[in-house]
Amino acid sequence: MACVAEESPSGMWRVSFRIGEVSLGLTADQSFHRVLSLQIQPFCSKSEACDIEIRLVWANALTSPQGRLLFDSGSVWKLYEDSPGFVFDFSSPVLGPQPYKRLHVDRGFHQGRILLNRSCFPDPSTCNPLEYPLDELVVMHRLGRERGVEVHAAGMRDAEGNGYLFLGHSGAGKSTTTSLWNQQHSMTVLSDDRIILRENHGQVWMYGTPWHGEAAFAAPEKARIERFFILEHAPENKITQLTGGRAVGEIMARSFLPFYDAAALENTMSFLQEVVAAIPCYRLEFRPDGTAVEAVRQFRG
């Protein structure tokens, strides 16, 4: 749907999104520009009350947080724990010594507040509050509290509605596989890099996300899947079933998880165990040509 902000008589505006059945609402006053990345706009939705509600606030300065450092990503963000919940700090040497953005969020990832450092954004029209990786972090942490997980995978759906999911690290062949399938069949590609898995009444569903890979496929679509494929380049096509524990481990190794959050990890592990019990998981060694596509389509394991 078109990404149109709703405005209230009090002068506030609001946009909402739905990604992998997680809804996210963003509310701000008119001093904030409605700036959203192009890739998240197709995921706009109409939601009056979202799973996660975030309010935007300006801060004149952002000093060091008081909480305990839980995790340093080594990139732009660090995570702290404070008494009501968590604090994500986003910093870059390009934007000065202070964090350019801070997210306060409760432990359940229901309510959040983004503080944008005014000194880092002299031109507010250049400021995208949900800019990657904040949007993905919020959804990923919320999934850790639900029955779902974000995985490093390419996912697509054929004209008959069959879903095909290929998990893989970088270089495993996700983009190649997406391209091969797209050339040979009329496919709806949900994502070439990031897929969200959810379980619903014993069925496993995959959802597209805005966080695409090199081929830039990102669709707000879903498809039911009947098996997992773990991608691996090889000289010949070969499909081998992975047993329960091994399958869970291989999928976890290709998942985005809050490793510093024991409860979320346990929840995700339990979710993956259920998912792997419901549908089989295979290692797909594949040749990067059309024979791999047919090998999968004809496979009835």
Binding site: V76, N128, Y132, W211, A253
Partner: protein, 58 residues
């Protein structure tokens, strides 16, 4: 007799427990890293850590 046949069908082979190491890739398991430049997603312009945006219609 029928019950006995069912029991045999249901019986699973014992598989001894074993430890298997599955490697994580920290650089991929943590969000925020960039793969490519000049596009969006994990390779979006913010990977250059200079906020650049497109404005949504309102």
């Amino acid at each position: 007799m029928k019950q006995s046949q069912n029991d045999q069908v249901a019986k699973k082979f014992y598989e001894a427990p074993k430890i298997v190491t599955i490697n994580l890739r920290p650089e991929e398991a943590v969000l925020g890293n960039c793969k490519i430049s000049g596009s969006s997603g994990p390779g979006n312009p913010s990977c250059a850590i200079v906020p650049r945006c497109s404005t949504v219609g309102s």
